[in-house]
Symmetry: C2
Subunit: 98 residues, 2 copies
Amino acid sequence: MRRLNHPNLDEVTLVKALSALGDPIRLEIVRKLSDGQEHQGSELDVKVAQSTLSHHFTTLRNAGVVFIRPEGTRCWHSLRPEFDQRFPGLLTKVLELL
Amino acid sequence: MRRLNHPNLDEVTLVKALSALGDPIRLEIVRKLSDGQEHQGSELDVKVAQSTLSHHFTTLRNAGVVFIRPEGTRCWHSLRPEFDQRFPGLLTKVLELL
């Protein structure tokens, strides 16, 4: 089965994390994934083209925020629990301020 | 006396704040200003050209993070206390994770 590359959280810097979160589309994605469930991109109802959405997911994946699980021709997205271990409370604080 | 434009914090979005913080130089500036004092740019010992530093200060000013007080030919920089009222705990969290 195809598997996407996900960074070791130790290699993700705070700058990279903040930069990934500092975008309106990516923040909307994170908010929608904060229900703790896996979602397909199309379910999230983000008003951008599929290619743009895919680009934002890649940025979030590279920053350790999002896990992407391919299944056949679909991709399931969820927040990585390890992100909160790497940056305790950051995502909670950001979501609280949204 | 010359006075620079500083945004009303109500107009600063979380995205803009996170985006301003998501840069290594700007995060270094914020860390150095977190002593609560006013500093001239040159005091901060950030290893970039003066023009680059000035650009980063402008980004931080536009995001409501930094107050810049011109005095003659010098500029004094400090963190804006209102930022923490707008985004309670965000800067504290970011500084804690640095």
